[in-house]
């Protein structure tokens, strides 16, 4: 065997003329200890870092159960104007977990978009689709108006002015056995009122937006 050639190519430490090399040895004891020590350290660090990381980002992947909440009997609502109702989005944090929704009966004259068919009540979330401030329904103007940055929405919750990137979110509705209207999970809509799983404010759902702002992993279709 040509020693000159094998000096750098051979896998045996003896051929590579390492001091103290053994016959048939491919990794020196020193190299083995270095790699073993660093590997053991990496495993030890990963054994507490990975669970801690998972613990911190776990809520992203958690799906919350659907809540249905009664907001009053059917006679409260009419097809022509909105009635504000207080709903509890998160029961664990007291007042901060409550929000307002605007509810009216389905009106075939104005709810003409194909995606609206089938719901007997329309419930609009008061969370502005710009950055999440609470909008209010202004009866005289027949508009939802946001106090923070001037977002304006029409009767159906579609944007007519200001910075919002999509219409107001809605809630699923149903009527229970006591003839009370119940509000269920939130869903988002694009400018054609096509339904999407709930997205955060500021995330457009038209065109490329629906791909740039993906649905959250825990979201379930109703």
């Amino acid at each position: 065997m040509s020693a000159k050639h094998d000096k750098h190519k051979s896998k045996y430490t003896l051929d590579r003329e390492y001091p103290g090399a053994f016959e048939g040895e491919t990794v020196t004891r020193r190299r083995f200890m270095v790699v073993g020590g660093q590997g053991a350290g990496a495993i030890a660090a990963a054994s507490f870092l990975l669970p801690a990381l998972g613990f911190a980002i776990g809520p992203i992947f958690k799906s919350s159960p659907h809540r249905w909440e009664s907001v009053g009997s059917e006679d409260l609502f009419n097809p022509n104007n909105y009635v504000p109702v207080v709903i509890t989005l998160n029961p664990e944090i007291g007042e901060a977990g409550k929000s307002t929704a605007y509810v009216r009966k389905f009106n075939p004259a104005i709810d003409t978009d194909p995606y609206d068919r089938g719901d007997s009540y329309i419930a609009i979330s008061s969370r502005c689709a710009h950055l999440g401030c609470p909008v209010r329904w202004v009866d005289a103007a027949e508009r939802f108006i946001c106090p923070c940055h001037g977002g304006v929405y029409d009767l159906l919750g579609r944007r007519v002015g200001g910075p919002p990137v999509r219409p107001l979110d809605r809630f699923y509705t149903r009527v229970n056995a006591n003839r009370e209207v119940e509000l269920g999970p939130r869903f988002s809509v694009n400018s054609e009122l096509k339904r999407f799983s709930p997205r955060d404010p500021g995330e457009p759902l038209d065109g490329l937006g629906q791909y740039a702002y993906p649905s959250r992993p825990g979201a379930q279709k109703l």
Binding site: A56, I57, P59, I60, K62, S64, L89, N90, E92, I93, G94, A96, G97, L131, G132, C133, C148, P198, R199, D200, P201, G202, E203, A212, Y213, P214, R216, G218, A219
Partner: protein
Amino acid sequence: MPKLPAPPIPSSLQAPPPRPGEGNGKATKPHEHAAEAGAAVVDWVDERTSLSGGARWLMFRKVPKGTNWFYTLGSATMFAFLSQAVTGVFLAMYYRPDPSGGAYESIRHVTNEVFLGQFVRGMHKWGSSVMVILVFLHMGRTFFFGAYKYPRELNWVIGVVLLILTMTMSFTGYLLPFDQRAYWATIVGVNINGTGPLLGPYLSDFLRGGPEFGATTLSRFYAIHMLLVPGLIAALIGAHLYLVAKLGTTAPPWLKAEQNPELREADA
């Protein structure tokens, strides 16, 4: 070493100078014993750590001509951070990150009832704005004096990370009083994070600890505000200072380098 003038104390009250042959350089008075004991403790530590060399390296550096008050903005920022750290530690002794009313109540208690509570909370609250302003002034000084150039680019990068971390502190601290302003500012701030494409929605869910503002959002912000980010800031300030000491202070841009007079002769 030049001697300071003696304080104007009547000679009858002054200690008489030692008589020739008395003491022989050894400590005889109590305060001399105390000074020697102090020096002995410092010597004991220094003999075992060699810290004094590092302290001398950090503190007694050559500084170029023309350094001026603008060069104190970095230290000012650091002292603003130290003030925030100290007042923050003591505020944490009273604060409760409880979203169902306890957080607001504990802040109200600190402000209205705790002795000096309003003052310490005020220092923390106004100090946060002071720190942000000082960070920007320090950044401006570095930029306009050209102090970010080779070999100090890495220190600029560390400084930018420190700026972002300071902003994170401002953002997470804003929620803690848990009043209407804090709540809605956080809703808006988290949603601004969410407008970043692809990763934005995940970032907002991480900040809130779920799809909606929930029970753990406040404790999450509190942990980020008082454990995660301050540790990072302290570590990066250490790195920042090390590089300042290692690379030295820049001269102001209007100062020309002084030529060696011998070389000047040679030029002529």
